[in-house]
């Protein structure tokens, strides 16, 4: 199809404008974090940093308890992902490969669970955790994060398990494997990419969680990175360089994961969230 010059130019021009609009906040975060203080507090913004300094990153990482928060966030997130993967693997195998009464009910149940309004339920969760004297502990946080990502993990893994040809499993069983062995030796290796991408999405969700930790863990020692980050700016006055450095440190792992996952992001999210 032939298009006029205008018809060829406007999509590209729009795309460029959109690209700038989309990327600018991310760019501004990184560039501010690398600029010397004088360039940040300038009457006219310095669009491209020429003097680069790591002073703000030193301020952010040198803040009180910074490494405690990193450890807390990593512990909670990794454990939540691992537990939910183990639980989900068993469940998704049943849902994808077995016929049984109530199967549909289970799937619908997990789909509903996926939409649970966690942000609204924090009061009840606070009461439960308080009655168990577990405030300011990482245990309830880990358990609830695991639950937040569990439905998505089950439903997504169900798709991945179903995609492994049944014949492979059957031929393994004809060759003398038990069902468990067939699962471990045939299905599990083929599931690896699915497990990877599913767990990374779980990782992102748990890493970002804010509302629950805000209510449960008030002690300085028990906070996680999102909570620290949200109070950083108030604590440090208007030290935007350090605030942006802290934001960058928090965002970098996720940005890297996400860019790698871009393709899977689409199919995974649509398979998991839209179609169940």
């Amino acid at each position: 199809m032939k298009r006029s010059l205008f018809g060829r130019v406007w999509p590209n021009a729009t795309a460029v404008v959109l690209f700038i609009g989309l990327v600018f906040p991310v760019y501004w975060m990184f560039s501010t974090s690398l600029k010397p203080r004088g360039d940040i507090l300038a009457e006219n913004p310095v669009w491209f940093p020429t003097d680069i300094t790591f002073e703000h990153f030193r301020t952010a990482t040198g803040a009180d308890h910074f490494w405690t928060y990193v450890t807390n966030s990593l512990t909670v997130t990794v454990l939540a992902v691992v537990f939910s993967l183990i639980i989900a693997l068993a469940g998704s195998f049943a849902l994808a490969r077995m016929r049984f009464k109530g199967r549909r009910g289970f799937i619908i149940g997990f789909m509903l669970a996926q939409m649970a309004p966690w942000e609204v339920m924090v009061i009840a969760m606070y009461m439960i955790v308080r009655d168990a004297s577990m405030l300011n502990s990482l245990v309830p946080l880990t358990l609830f994060y695991m639950m937040m990502i569990l439905p998505f993990t089950i439903l997504t893994l169900r798709g991945f398990v179903a995609a492994v040809p049944k014949e492979l499993e059957e031929s393994a069983m004809v060759d003398g494997c038990t069902r468990v062995q067939a699962f471990r030796r045939v299905i599990l290796p083929l599931l690896a990419p699915g497990l990877m991408s599913t767990s990374l999405f779980g990782f992102i969700t748990a890493w970002n969680e804010f509302a629950l930790v805000l209510v449960l863990n008030k002690d300085a020692e028990a906070k996680t990175l999102p909570l620290w980050l949200s109070s950083f700016q108030t604590q440090f006055g208007d030290d935007w360089g350090a605030t942006m450095a802290a934001s960058s440190l928090f965002a970098i792992p996720i940005l890297i994961l996400f860019v790698f996952l871009q393709r899977k992001a689409v199919s995974g999210l649509t398979a998991g969230a839209v179609k169940g």
Binding site: N12, T14, A15, L18, F19, L22, V23, P25, V26, W28, M29, L41, N44, P45, I87, A90, G91, A94, L95, M98, F100, R104, F106, I108, G109, F110, A116, P117, E119, V120, M121, V122, I123, A124, M125, M127, F144, M147, L150, P151, I154, E170, I204, N208, F210, A211, P226, D238, W240, M244, S247, F250, I254, L255, F258, V259, Q262, A273, V274, K275
Partner: protein, 328 residues
């Protein structure tokens, strides 16, 4: 004799069959009993976790909403039931209805912007050349990937009163009263920034999904349409739209759910301020319940919020459940 010779073989033969039935034969009795339990056993951990970690908090919330639970009762660990008092008080308070209306308007405005913007960008992606498309996709993925709390801090900096880049641009464009404008000082300006933030974060999901959906439309359909003399607009409405409709439905409802409970953006940007004027329902429940320590009231607001959310999305749930029914 005949009876005797016939009987013994028939018994053991059955038993033998049942014994090696575990190796994959179509379900004889003994193995099938174990096999019938297997799926439930595999699902047990997941169900137990769901009941304990999701069902119990939901039930607890319902129970709390019928209690008079404030600071005093919390410290003394006493349970005071007060029937439907919390609901009465909430439903008759002007504040609750104002917040509800605000939440619905806020959600509607955001979802409309997200869906229109996302759809247009998705269609644009389909039109672009390879290199340009890749560039725009990178931009979308970066915006999508930004963690919520980090994004909110960045927006606080972009819209900062002093040295914020947005105010500088507006000033240079000739709107001089904006030079030292405080975006957190009024209801509308706070909502404006939060809306920009949410739309910016949410458009990529819609756009990329929609673009993915357009790639599934067979080209023959467009060819057939143009053979039949359909113009650009006509082939858009008769070919593209019918294909995209299910995606649009699904994403619209997902966005409604996500925006309606956008606690983090609203709370971390301005804590529902100024003067509690930007509280949406989840923030309202939090501030009433945890902030002002009226836990029972907060729980009642939470229950009502969940009901409203269910109401808003029930149509979508029906579609999804029906779709699932057809598939299984």
């Amino acid at each position: 004799m005949t009876v005797q010779t016939e009987r013994p073989p028939s018994g053991p033969a059955d038993v033998r069959k049942a014994d090696d039935g575990g190796a994959g034969r179509p379900k004889p009795t003994a193995a099938s009993r174990a096999g019938a339990f297997a799926p439930y056993l595999l699902l047990l951990p997941a169900c137990a976790a769901t009941v304990l970690l999701l069902g119990w908090p939901l039930l607890k919330d319902l129970l709390l909403s019928f209690q008079n639970l404030n600071m005093a009762q919390l410290i003394q660990h006493v349970t005071e039931w007060n029937g439907i008092e919390n609901y009465e008080e909430t439903l008759t308070s002007e504040q609750f209805w104002r917040v509800t209306l605000r939440s619905i308007l806020f959600t509607a405005a955001n979802v409309v912007l997200i869906m229109i913007g996302g759809t247009l960008i998705g269609l644009l992606l389909a039109r672009l050349g390879r290199r340009m498309r890749f560039t725009l996709l990178i931009g979308l993925v970066l915006a999508w990937a930004m963690p919520v709390v980090a994004a909110t801090t960045v927006y606080q900096w972009l819209f900062a009163q002093r040295f914020g880049v947005v105010n500088w641009v507006l000033d240079k464009l000739g709107w001089h009263s904006m030079a030292d404008y405080s975006w957190t000082s009024s209801q509308m300006s706070t909502f404006f920034v939060v809306t920009v933030l949410i739309v910016w974060m949410s458009i990529p999901f819609v756009a990329i999904n929609l673009y993915a959906a357009t790639t599934t439309i067979p080209n023959e359909l467009y060819e057939a349409a143009s053979l039949d003399g359909a113009g650009v607009w006509r082939s858009f409405t008769t070919v593209t739209m019918p294909f995209l409709r299910p995606f649009l439905y699904a994403t619209t409802f997902l966005e409604i759910i996500w925006v309606f409970k956008a606690f983090v953006q609203v709370y971390t940007f301005n804590e529902g301020g100024p003067d509690r004027l930007t509280e949406i329902l989840p923030v309202y429940a939090y501030v009433e319940g945890v902030g002002n320590q009226h836990y029972g009231m907060g729980a009642a607001i939470a229950v009502l919020t969940i009901l409203i959310l269910l109401g808003l999305t029930s149509y979508y749930l029906r579609i999804v459940l029906k779709q699932e029914e057809d598939e299984l």
